[in-house]
Symmetry: C2
Subunit: 572 residues, 2 copies
Amino acid sequence: MRTSKYLLSTLKETPNDAEIISHQLMLRAGMIRKLASGLYTWLPTGLRVLRKVENIVREEMNKAGAVETLMPVVQPSELWVETGRWDKFGPELLRIADRHDRPFVLGPTHEEVITDMVRNEVKSYKQLPLNLYQIQTKFRDEVRPRFGVMRSREFIMKDAYSFHLDKESLVETYETMHQAYCNIFNRMGLDFRPVLADTGSIGGSGSHEFHVLAESGEDLIAFSTESDYAANIEKAEALAPATERAEPTMEMTLVDTPNAKTIAELVEQHGIAIEKTVKTLFVKASDEVEADLIALIIRGDHELNEIKAENLSCVASPLEFATEDEIRALVNAGPGSLGPVNLPVPFIVDRAVAVMSDFGAGANIDDKHYFGINWSRDVELGQVEDLRNVVEGDPSPCGKGTLMLKRGIEVGHIFQLGNNYSESMNASVLGPDGKNVIMEMGCYGIGCTRVVAAAIEQNNDENGIIWPDAIAPFQVSIVPMNMAKSEEVKEAAEKLYADLTAAGIDVLFDDRKERPGVMFADHELIGIPHTIVIGNRSLENGEMEYKDRRAGTKEGVAVTDIVEFIKQKLAK
Amino acid sequence: MRTSKYLLSTLKETPNDAEIISHQLMLRAGMIRKLASGLYTWLPTGLRVLRKVENIVREEMNKAGAVETLMPVVQPSELWVETGRWDKFGPELLRIADRHDRPFVLGPTHEEVITDMVRNEVKSYKQLPLNLYQIQTKFRDEVRPRFGVMRSREFIMKDAYSFHLDKESLVETYETMHQAYCNIFNRMGLDFRPVLADTGSIGGSGSHEFHVLAESGEDLIAFSTESDYAANIEKAEALAPATERAEPTMEMTLVDTPNAKTIAELVEQHGIAIEKTVKTLFVKASDEVEADLIALIIRGDHELNEIKAENLSCVASPLEFATEDEIRALVNAGPGSLGPVNLPVPFIVDRAVAVMSDFGAGANIDDKHYFGINWSRDVELGQVEDLRNVVEGDPSPCGKGTLMLKRGIEVGHIFQLGNNYSESMNASVLGPDGKNVIMEMGCYGIGCTRVVAAAIEQNNDENGIIWPDAIAPFQVSIVPMNMAKSEEVKEAAEKLYADLTAAGIDVLFDDRKERPGVMFADHELIGIPHTIVIGNRSLENGEMEYKDRRAGTKEGVAVTDIVEFIKQKLAK
């Protein structure tokens, strides 16, 4: 590609409304432009990256035996009514009406459509397993679209759905997809981790997320220092402490704490160690419990894991915290003064709290705490569960090493759906014994547009993006110095452009009449991994200058060797 | 691809609701399935064809210097208000509201979005010309979607938009696109014609449609028998007859014609030649004319060309025929008794009518006609225009040969837009003299999904589809006979599959346990151009059997030559 025939559209200034680095750099590098909130046009440079991402995904899906299909963006409401998601899905599901006022949705996902298709087309277990995928535009009406294409309303996903006679076959395809995802992100040159994910209300027996590691990631991932174990913090189990609970050494005393509304204030004003305090949080109870509210008790320095709490059968789903009014109606104390002693509602104790002794907690009387509380002696322990987020240094649930935490950006998710959709839509096949069997399903997503942003979050410096070769908009750029004045430079640049292009390499030939500094800045911003500078002086020595974007190094390369040199670089 | 791992989904029966052959065959061949009215899922076989179509389009667009981009499906209403199309576009434009009740449209086309993008990104004439394209999902809320993907609501288009400093540059890119389109449809192996098209109300100086020729086509195309001239019948000029008007030989007489409400009845009941009759049609006049209605007079055996009529400055656009009440309010006679003599409204005469003599027409009195009418003597001729559709045998407007008519399916359209959009959206650049210049624009569309259906309309027989090699879902299929029982057949088939695949050929290896007849029927239905049959008997002779789908021929080919033989076939 010649820059003169291209729409480069780089920006010098960082746009004001872009918060995260990938959004800033995608705007500055001329990759995307905002059309409206959460809606982006992909300019040529952005689209080149996106297409490379899509192609890698497509090739690896095909290799893994998945078959490509393409479903409509616009879906009839009937199917969503059938699975119950017409009601359950929030306003992220954009509901529209056509000219005849018939209800449709803009598809955020395609479980309904594919299950409908497969129940019509697949009649016998002999046609299974079947794994169908598409790479397609989706719409999710986010309440606050932000971070550019990281959380946009219209986006491109690869979504695959597999169908099986039994769980064993599902697990087999799930594992094939797990490997395919690893191949995909490896080929893209990204530092990523497959991590155990919560399966939430859908249930199902297994789920992994694929995260690109980046400090700006929204998700926290817990890793073992000594094994492959990795899990989203939502899912990572906090093991019960190996230590026994110590014997009481203090009497329980009621203390006036008029200014201690928070754990931090309590610790500061009363000299108690934070590890000797607990937080008591009230949430709505499920129908399983007679009470309306239920209390969750965690150590003062720990954080409640809302997913773990929500997954408890006694807690209402989705998780909902009680208001102060609701609490006062039962306890006669405010949120700053709650605790297990004399608590008139059922409570659940975190594993770490269960081994505490001589600890402090609210007295369920405003402005008062008990210090020196001990389980059994002062209050019955009751139900113990894993309620908290793990912290660095916790023992790994795999049994090896301790946990450390890193931030990640979720770019893929694989899921053993089981028969959630197939059951409600009655998607069955004739089994080997001639009886109808509801199919088992898996689903497997990759956010193609999001991968582009995540790759940038992981690969950038103060000058711009640093693309891995496999997804760079151009693998190589040519910067001719003063081409207008030097016939030699022009000739050498044209020849190199022709030779590299003939070798199947994506080249940006910067034939603009710009100063070299402008060209260098643009190419660094766009993140082209390999640049060849052609100038009169080096040509006289039979050389061109090679610049490595990632290493930040330069070297002279003989003109006669340059094509082979670049091929070698790209083969790595 | 092995059939056992694929979703073939062929149907034996022709579905009831499919009217045209391509729709029937796409359903039967397992290419598409209807999700809802005008919404289709592309099954694997259909998508394989669609992707090949898209790739040919993409490669030729890139070669022609166009640059790929990707715009959102969902577009904000503001831009459509800016160009006035928010009001002008009918209910085909699906207007939707997001969760915040902000108005959007599902894009049927992207002139507004691209012009907005270019006016923001392009500041100087030095960045021009620029030709941007996308291959993208579009939505048009057709009142009666039909014919499968031929006229669906959701479809995939390649739409390109070019931007220029001046008309000269626009014409240059227009011609480049004309050539690119010819290359595209040639590469696809389709019999097509670029034809002159009407530029309609948008004006602009030039437009061509690209039609795939097929008897089932909705459009009529006029060709010269002796030149390259081809035009949509909407546009094809009917030249003024070379003959002079003959002198009168009859007196004008008023005749009772109580049962002649139509030309056919008049001819039958009164023995007058149809070429000696005229039809008088009343349409709404434009503001340019003082009258509300205007009459259009054409020969009894000719058809009004509504596009030509609408393009007249004295006729209201869009063309609207007068109701009987509106006519009676002015003429005091009904539509069956109208004519030029004593007509109290202005009228326009077709070129062919202007040379008629001694002709018959309604007398503007119910149940009466005048026979023997002659211009000048009985009524003033007035304005003469080209108002009719050409018919076979008309002289070609190019000056060479006569016209013949064929049916075509419009699959592409190129258009010199001029400054229609750029003016209303104020899309300008700094010109060489430092002054702002409104850009000239062109637009260039190909209906990718429609091409698939059009190709089938042109290439089929009683057994199914006959794909041209370049867009076949599979180029070659392998049919092993009794593979389950013969190790030799299995081995030979597996080896051939591996060898052909290694040669980069798209192969369907039919490894089902089906009778050969079932496999042949499926492969013919799907339209695979080349089939290799492997059986024990021919293997013993060191041969395989090659079947040519299009020619309907078979021949034995030595096992040792088969890969080379297929390569030769595909190279043609």
